[in-house]
Every structure is written in structure tokens, then in C-alpha cells.
């Protein structure tokens, strides 16, 4: 078997031939990296980016640089997670195609389905999903089920023919306009406690009754969708896991998410960019800016140490559990810190465009940074996980515990 070092070496050689190194402040296009958190891209450009990212993944796969830890049953190469990690670590140094929808498909949905799907689902979907030949979005959150995901109310009603009728509304569904499938959670039983009445489906988004509409976020762009479901008829083949077993599907995926997150350093607004800004604006000597620069640099360095610690723990066989909640909060805190620093550096130039380059555009970062305090498990939810699952603090009385879903107060 190829050693991890050999894999890393091979990856580097292959990348060197094909993609540029990720330089400090410039992107592949030779333009400065965007500092935005939510990029505002046209539909056509977004499709192109997604296609590039899929092609890139498949090319890596065909050259034994992706799918390393997938078994041959799914077209994989039968190596270990350590081999895959090594390629990721090397790849992080390069400026490669990327699209948010890909990791959802390949790192969350595909491994979940491998674990929980039927034999037929595994045969049909897992390989193509892992290679991103099929692309799948997450249909989890709802307007009335945000932090309380398990409070979802999209209804799945069993029909006489064994199939399902699904009605309801999903929200914050990233990439649903480009995906062929959506991994959907719906309530199939309101007479049991809330976690027990949820069923999961792999929903072809072409199905009649599915309406995907862009949702405009406060930054002005539309990175997300609302998905309306009106009497959507679905055969039972598309059910994932047991009837009433949807929460297990969700937690399985969220478990992979924990494992996968923390790598995404592609979002805009890095230390390098902040430093470049402070120098360009001549503010590195400003006593109101200096402590902020010191703290931003500290977070920049310690984020790398965090990654190394987590990698080391994983190699020792201690998989990341709820500790992912800490990383999420540290990462968000770092983004907020950068926002505050650039606000102090730019002053009025943060909020009104003088035409000077690389100044006003930082407002995109500042507006967007707020989003990740909410998205992907709000700060409040993460703190609760840390308190009860890492520190082991006791839970207090709760109004939704031990009673049928239909009896939980909603107003």
C-alpha cells in the first residue's frame, strides 16, 4: 500500500502541474481574493464554478487523489483517512476550484447514505454522490424550525399505495437551485415525541410540487433558497432510513459535518488581507488599531495550531465530537474580530466608497460575518452543546420534553 507520505508527494507533483499555488493575497485570476463572506455571483457564473469544482474532483478521483478512503465498492481506492487528510493538507496550499455544494454532497450525504441507505440506494447513489456526478442539497431548516431543527413541521403523509405526500417549506437551502437531489427531513408522526416522528427522504428536485426560490440575504446577494413543497408525491424507495428514523439521518450527517468543517479557509477576509489593508492605509502605528492587529494575528496563528491539534487527535484515534462546536465559535469569533479591525482601520471608508481600491469592499465581509453567528448552528446552540456535552452540565426543565409533538406549545 502507498504510504501517506508517498500520497502527499504524488499529490504535490500532480497539483504543481495543474494549478497555481495559493499566493498570499491574490487568487487564481490574478485578482485579489475576495474578502466577502457571502459572494454575490450570477447564476451562470455559479453554475460554471460548480461544474469546474465537479470536474476537478473527478479528475483527482481518476488520478487516485480523491476517493482515497472510499472502498472499491463505491469506485474508491481503498486507502485510509490519513491518506485523504494528507491530500487535503497539500491541496490547501493551492488555488483550486471550489463550490460549497460539493462538500455537502460528497462529505455529508454520500457517507450518510453508505451507512444508512438500502442496498439499492447504496448501489445507485453513493458512488455518483461521492464523485459529485450527482449533487445533493440539504433540506433541513424551516421558518419555524431554526435552532430547534427537530421542531420541523413539513408533513410527510403516508399514502395508501405506500408512497408519500410531502407539504411544507424549507429555508436556507444552499445550492438547491443547482442540485438534482435534496436530502429532506419531514414529520411523519405528530403523536410521538418530536425526535421520533421525523422521516428522511432523498428528494429528486425535479419532482412536481417542488418550487425552489432564491432567498435574498442582508448582504444583498442570494446564496440561499426557500424550497416550497406542495403535495409532493414520492415513492417509498426514496425514503432514507426507517420511518421515524429521520433524526438519526440528521445527526449522522451533522456528525460528518463536524468532522469535515474547520477546513474551509476559503471564506474571505484573512490576516494577510487585514495586514495589507492596515499597511496600505498607514494605520499600523495607530494605538487603537495595534491591539486589534495583535489579536487578529494571534487567532490566525492559533487557528493553525487548532488544526494541527485536531489532526493529531484524529491520528491517535480520538475522533472530533462536540469539540467541533468550539472550533465553530472560534472561527466565527475570528471573523468578527477581523470585521472590527477593518472597521477601525477604514473608518468612514468602510461605509462609503471613495473609489480607492481594496477599501469599501470590506463592507461585504463585515455584513456577511454576522451570518455565520447564526448559520450552521447558532452561537447559542453551540454553547449549549459545549455546556451539556463537553462539560457535562445538567439540563434544566424544558417545555418540549417527553410529550407528543402535537402537544408542544408553539405560541
Amino acid at each position: 500500500m502507498e504510504t501517506v507520505e508517498e500520497t502527499a508527494h504524488r499529490a504535490r507533483a500532480w497539483f504543481d502541474d495543474r494549478v497555481p499555488k495559493r499566493l498570499d493575497t491574490e487568487s487564481r485570476s490574478g485578482k485579489p481574493w475576495s474578502v466577502a463572506i457571502f459572494t454575490d455571483t450570477s447564476h451562470d457564473d455559479e453554475v460554471r464554478l460548480l461544474d469546474e469544482a465537479r470536474a476537478w474532483l473527478q479528475a483527482k478521483w481518476d488520478n487516485r487523489l480523491a476517493g482515497l478512503d472510499w472502498s472499491e465498492e463505491f469506485g474508491g481506492h481503498g486507502l485510509t483517512r490519513a491518506h485523504a487528510d494528507a491530500v487535503s493538507a497539500v491541496e490547501a496550499e493551492y488555488d483550486v476550484p471550489h463550490h460549497d455544494l460539493l462538500p455537502i454532497t460528497t462529505r455529508l450525504v454520500a457517507p450518510m447514505l453508505r451507512l444508512l441507505g438500502t442496498d439499492e440506494q447504496r448501489a445507485t447513489f453513493v458512488g455518483p454522490l461521492a464523485r459529485s456526478e450527482l449533487v445533493c442539497a440539504q433540506l433541513f431548516s424551516e421558518p419555524a424550525a431554526g435552532s430547534d431543527l427537530a421542531g420541523l413541521t413539513t408533513r410527510a403523509t403516508r399514502l395508501d399505495d405506500g408512497g408519500w405526500s410531502i407539504s411544507g417549506q424549507k429555508v436556507w437551502s444552499s445550492g438547491a437551485q443547482f442540485a438534482g437531489y435534496g436530502l429532506l427531513l419531514a414529520r411523519s408522526d405528530v403523536d410521538v415525541v418530536k425526535h421520533a416522528g421525523i422521516t428522511a427522504f432523498l428528494l429528486p428536485l425535479e419532482t412536481p410540487g417542488v418550487d425552489v426560490r432564491p432567498l435574498r440575504q442582508m448582504t444583498g446577494g442570494s446564496c440561499f433558497n426557500e424550497v416550497f413543497l406542495d403535495d409532493v408525491r414520492l415513492s417509498d424507495e426514496y425514503r432514507v432510513g426507517e420511518v421515524g428514523g429521520g433524526w438519526k439521518v440528521a445527526t449522522t450527517m451533522l456528525g460528518f459535518e463536524r468532522d469535515a468543517s474547520g477546513d474551509d479557509t476559503t471564506l474571505g477576509g484573512s490576516w494577510i488581507q487585514v495586514l495589507a489593508l492596515a499597511e496600505a492605509m498607514g494605520r499600523t502605528g495607530d494605538p487603537s488599531v495595534r491591539p486589534m492587529l495583535a489579536d487578529a494575528y494571534t487567532r490566525h496563528v492559533l487557528a493553525k495550531v487548532d488544526v494541527a491539534r485536531d489532526l493529531s487527535a484524529r491520528l491517535r484515534g480520538t475522533p472530533r465530537g462536540p469539540e467541533g462546536s468550539m472550533r465553530k465559535l472560534q472561527w466565527v469569533e475570528g471573523m468578527v474580530q477581523i470585521s472590527e479591525t477593518v472597521a477601525q482601520i477604514l473608518g468612514p471608508r468602510l461605509v462609503a466608497d471613495t473609489g480607492e481600491p481594496e477599501t469599501y469592499l470590506w463592507h461585504e465581509h463585515v455584513l456577511g460575518a454576522l451570518g455565520y453567528r447564526i448559520a450552521g448552528g447558532s452561537n447559542e446552540i453551540q454553547r449549549g452543546i459545549i455546556a451539556e456535552r463537553i462539560l457535562g452540565l445538567p439540563s434544566g426543565p424544558r417545555a418540549d420534553r417527553g410529550i407528543p409533538f402535537k402537544d408542544i406549545p408553539t405560541a
Binding site: 431548516s141 421558518p143 419555524a144 424550525a145 431554526g146 435552532s147 430547534d148 421542531g151 429555508v171 436556507w172 432567498l215 435574498r216 440575504q217 442582508m218 444583498g220 487603537s288 472597521a343 477601525q344 477604514l346 473608518g347 468612514p348 468602510l350 461605509v351 462609503a352 466608497d353 471613495t354 473609489g355 469599501y360 463592507h363 463585515v366 455584513l367 454576522l370 451570518g371 453567528r373 447564526i374 448559520a375 447558532s378 452561537n379 447559542e380 454553547r383 424544558r398 417545555a399 418540549d400 408542544i408 406549545p409 408553539t410 405560541a411
Partner: protein, 381 residues
């Protein structure tokens, strides 16, 4: 150095003040609901002209600080404050603060009766919007030198040349007041008509579109000196103080609105079978916000009380309000979005409009760090 606030005279909430506030609020409720604000802000020039007419012609509040001799109401900061709080609370898209507070303060402080007679009546009846340019880097460090130069032409008239960014309502104003340097050591306030020769105005892209800003280019543009020339700091101080205190009143009004909005949402939004406002972590954060707003109210009270007092105390009070109210409003906007969750991050929700205002108003007239330094300087520290 000396300490102040020994014997504080606070403005008592009289019946007249209360009914004035009520009148402004009911006009705003009717004519400037958040949907209207959004439409104007997403529109062309960011000015709600019909509302401006109502405020000027039906309510007459545009003349609140203008002496009766010039057609105004001849009232004071206590009255201006209630108007500003209401406008801030609703994000109304009107140039009340720059034109009716800052420009009026400037003209009165200049002691130039001729200019007052020419400028103030138009401000009072709303027919003239006067913008005041305060910002370039002057708000990050005490300005010592404007980028605009003033020269006396052969005909004895002044002409100005230079660039002036960050002019609030600069594109819609009928006239602009700006600082220009008349010599190495001296500056003056100059009035430039919007149709003056050699003036070009371009709208700047802005985060807070309820508050348009312009970049002015002046090339030998004729201008009228208002008041006398003098040291830049001395000319700037009373005007900056008024602008900061006015912004503080607006920030307080907006913060209170956000607290009310968020408390109402938290009381009715259920998650986990409970109203989210019953979760203790959120309760404590809203309590902290309420405390911060109460502190901001004291800062506004002090700034308003000190507004006509001696220059040192006025600068002190203005800068205190510039720190406290900016930070409070920013906190309020952050908590509003966070507590509203996903819905608070959408374009359709009003939260981001307030966040944008909070972000912009926190830096527009000097950052909190700048005002901390300015406060210490007012204490000779």
C-alpha cells in the same frame, strides 16, 4: 482639569415636549413605515421628499433651532432631541440632522447675521436643504488642514478648489457648507450653491442607503464665506459637537426601537416549546442591552443639557455621547439580528437597515476610539 456635572440641570419632560414627540411620531408612523424607508433607501437619491414637506410645512419642526427672528420656532435642544429620537427610531430618510441641526448650529455659531438671514428661512420652510461637510480624515484625527483651498479672486470673491468626500446628502442638497483653508494657518466655513460653477457632485456607494453621501469636486468654485476665518479647530468644534450630539439622539431612538422589536419577537417566537425570550442566556443579553440603552439615555441627557453651555463641557458631553450611543446602537443592531436568527439575516427584514445605519453612524463622525481621545483632550489629559 476640572470635573463637571456637579449641578446638572436636566430637561424635564414637559407636556409640550411630549406632544411634539407624539406629533412627529404619528407622522412617521403614517408616512414613514419601514416599507417606505426601504423603498426610498433602495431608490435613487435616498430622500423622502413628501415626508420632508410634511415635517417642514405641516409640523414646522425643521425650524426647531432657528430663532423666531429668522422664521423658526426658537426652541432648543430638548425639542430637537425628541425629533431626532423619533427620526432615528424610524430611519426616516430626511436630512433633518444635517440641515436643521448642524447647518443651523454652524450659521448661528458663525455669528454672521447676513448669512443667517439668507440661509435660515429656507431651512425652516424646507425649501433649502443645506448639507455640511465634516468628514474626511478630520474625524479620525483633529483636523488641522482641509483638502479644499480657498482663494480670493481678483473680484474680491472667494473661489474654492479641491475634493471633499463624505458629504451627507451632498447630491440632494441645495447648498453645502464646507471648511476650506484660506491660508497656511487659517480656515473658514464656506457656502457653495449646488449649481455653482465648477462644482461636480457624485453619489458615493454607501452601506447605509438611508443616508446618501457624496463626493464633491470643486474647481475654482465661487463660494460665500460664512462668519470669519479662524483656527480650523475652533471653527470645527461647535459644529462637530452638534453633529455628534444629533447622531447620538438618533442612535438612542433607533436602539430603543430595536430593543422593543426584539423583545416583542422573543416573546412570541417559540423554539423548543418555549418563547425564546424565556431562555435565560437571551434574557441576560437583552438585560445588558437595556442597561446599555439606559446609559445611552444618560449620555444623551448630558449632551443635550450641555449643548448650549461652555465649549469645554459641550465637547466633553458630545464625545461621551459619541462613544456611548454609537456602541449601544451597534450592540442593539447585532443583538437584533442574532436574536431574530435566520429571518433577521434576510434582506426583507428591517434588521439590516438598522445594522447598516449602526455601522455607518459608528464611524461617520469619528470612531468611539477617536471620541475617547477627544474626551481626554477636553479634560486636558
Amino acid at each position: 482639569m476640572s470635573t463637571t456635572a456637579g449641578a446638572l440641570l436636566l430637561t424635564e419632560p414637559t407636556d409640550e415636549l411630549r406632544s411634539m414627540a407624539e406629533a412627529v411620531r404619528s407622522v412617521l408612523a403614517a408616512e414613514s413605515p419601514i416599507e417606505r424607508v426601504a423603498a426610498v433607501a433602495d431608490g435613487l437619491d435616498g430622500l423622502d421628499a413628501p415626508l420632508w414637506r410634511t415635517l417642514a410645512q405641516d409640523l414646522g419642526v425643521t425650524g426647531v433651532l432657528v430663532p423666531e427672528a429668522h422664521g423658526g420656532l426658537g426652541l432648543g435642544w430638548a425639542e430637537a432631541r425628541v425629533v431626532l429620537e423619533a427620526l432615528g427610531s424610524s430611519l426616516a430618510c430626511v436630512p433633518f440632522a444635517p440641515s436643521c441641526v448642524v447647518a443651523v448650529t454652524l450659521v448661528l455659531a458663525a455669528g454672521d447675521e447676513g448669512a443667517a438671514g439668507d440661509i435660515l428661512p429656507g431651512i425652516v420652510d424646507g425649501s433649502t436643504v443645506v448639507a455640511v461637510a465634516l468628514g474626511d480624515d478630520s474625524v479620525l484625527a483633529p483636523v488641522s488642514r482641509s483638502a479644499v483651498a480657498a482663494e480670493l479672486g481678483v473680484d474680491g470673491a472667494w473661489v474654492l478648489t479641491g475634493d471633499q468626500p463624505f458629504v451627507p446628502y451632498g447630491t440632494v442638497a441645495d447648498a453645502i457648507l464646507l471648511l476650506a483653508r484660506t491660508s497656511d494657518d487659517e480656515h473658514g466655513w464656506f457656502l457653495v450653491a449646488s449649481d455653482a460653477r465648477g462644482l461636480s457632485r457624485s453619489a458615493m456607494s454607501v452601506v447605509d442607503t438611508t443616508r446618501p453621501q457624496a463626493l464633491l469636486r470643486l474647481e475654482s468654485t465661487p463660494a460665500r464665506l460664512v462668519g470669519a476665518v479662524g483656527r480650523c479647530d475652533d471653527l470645527l468644534a461647535p459644529v462637530l459637537d452638534a453633529a455628534v450630539a444629533a447622531a447620538a439622539c438618533e442612535q438612542l431612538g433607533a436602539s430603543r426601537h430595536l430593543l422593543d422589536l426584539t423583545v416583542a419577537y422573543a416573546s412570541t417566537r417559540f423554539q423548543f416549546g418555549q418563547p425564546i425570550g424565556s431562555f435565560q442566556a437571551l434574557q441576560h443579553r437583552l438585560a445588558d442591552l437595556a442597561i446599555s440603552i439606559d446609559t445611552a439615555a444618560s449620555a444623551v441627557e448630558y449632551a443635550v443639557s450641555a449643548a448650549p453651555a461652555d465649549p469645554r463641557q459641550r465637547a466633553e458631553a458630545a464625545s461621551i455621547s459619541g462613544v456611548v450611543c454609537s456602541e449601544t446602537f451597534y450592540l442593539a443592531a447585532l443583538e437584533t439580528i442574532q436574536i431574530h436568527g435566520g429571518i433577521g439575516f434576510t434582506w426583507e427584514h428591517q434588521a439590516h437597515r438598522y445594522y447598516r445605519r449602526a455601522l455607518a453612524s459608528r464611524v461617520a463622525l469619528g470612531s468611539p476610539a477617536f471620541h475617547r481621545e477627544r474626551l481626554l483632550q477636553s479634560l486636558a489629559l
